[in-house]
Amino acid sequence: MSSPLLEIKDMHVHYGAIHAIQGINIKVNQGEIVTILGSNGAGKTTTLHSISGLIPISSGEILFDGKPIHTFPAHKIVAEGVAQSPEGRMVFPDLTVQENLEMGAYLREDNHKIKEDLEYMFKLFPRLLERKKQLAGTLSGGEQQMLAIARAYMANPRLLLLDEPSLGIAPILVQAIFDAIVEINKHGTTILLVEQNAYAALKIAHRAYVIATGEMFMEGPANELIKNEEIQKAYLGH
């Protein structure tokens, strides 16, 4: 059996005196969509930020393709093949849609393949094509979310981290965004998805982890967790 693409081993994260992540283990295999669920403040975003190198871990290991990356600065982790669409989208408001996407491909030199990926993103999100000369700050929330995902994809990552892609988005766009995530995955990109919208996430994911107050609460195949009574009560609103 081949080693997982991403492996987090007994990771702890502190914010000053706060022990935000208390020893979690996560594996993401090549080709999967894996989702991390949990309520507000459970440590989902912290986990993604630690993978991306924005928040240092206190102990444990993060292995990407078997290589420890938890000591790397954030920009080096992108070079390794891990890109993130952050919570709150964080598109560059004073740059155009096109320029935002160029920034996503900042480290790449393969101009021909960049153009191909750009066209693929415009096919996936036609709204971005229509608005490519517009400043990103003038887009609606949903369009900014599409841009944030497309921008992360433009790094040509082997692992794409998506933080709350449905947060604050009009319901009609949520489905379109989740469809796009499935399409990107089928196209060959492994995805680690953090979501509060547990139902939507479980429907597209292969496996899921549930974090509660910094600790692993439950894990398993998504189609099993979606039927689990505890999960239904706590996160699915049944």
């Binding site: 991306s52 924005l54 600065p73 964080m90 560059f92 004073d94 900042y106 480290l107 921008r151």
Partner: protein, 299 residues
Amino acid sequence: MSENVTYFFYDLFQYLVNGLAQGSIYALIALGYTMVYGIIKLINFAHGEFYMIGAFIGFYCLVSGMPLWMAFPAAMIGAGLVAVLVEKIVYRPIRHAGRIPALITALGTSLLFQYLGQGVIGADPKAFPSAIAEKTYMLGEVIITRTQIIIMVVTFALMVILYWLVNHTKTGKAMRATSFNMNAAELMGINTNKIISFTFFIGAALAGAAGVLVGMYYNTAEPMMGLIPGLKAFIAAVLGGIGIIPGAVIGGLVLGVAENLVVGFWISTYRDAIAFAILILILLIKPAGILGKNRKEKV
């Protein structure tokens, strides 16, 4: 009566010419203030010293017989490299310590360079070599000197280059991305430390250019020369809207012209007072500056 009106206009145009030349210098210095503020939210009070350092590098190059076209870029690059070192040694270790410690550190760095300059170079003003033969041109009764023309042309050229750099190069876009949000920029694979170093370099190089131009204009250079122009450029940056690059240019020119109008039509000793009066007014009326606006997050 009509003769008086004619002379009024000659005076007015004369003060405008002088003001635009002076304002170009403020604008060049203000650009560095505003770029550094835009990227790390630091008011770099040592920025005026990069201008002084640029003037002295230009001074020593010219004194050693180097032609102006070599001394000028040497001063820009030298001032830029000093700024890169200051950022790396002084500001980077305290980047996350908060704004007040950074501000105090910047003031300390400014004093360090001023007094180091007095210790090493000497406090007495040096006679700046006249690198070009001075000539005056008459437009009617309005006098414009060759140095004034050079100041305005060089400033304009440097601004065009800066505009191109910031808006049309990958590095420039990375600068804008970093100034919006450092974490978001890092997530693009941008080495934000490198971008910050580069921003200090460019800002100080522009200040260094201003230093040489002023040396040529007033034929003098001394270690404390960065203090007042540094403060004026800071006012110009705030006036235009701190962190906004075109704002620094507008603020610099407005300040230069306003000073010269006050000096010409009113009382010459109010030159510095008017700058600070403008600062107080803008803070009262429009604290975000001429081009400043409040941005709201979109939901």
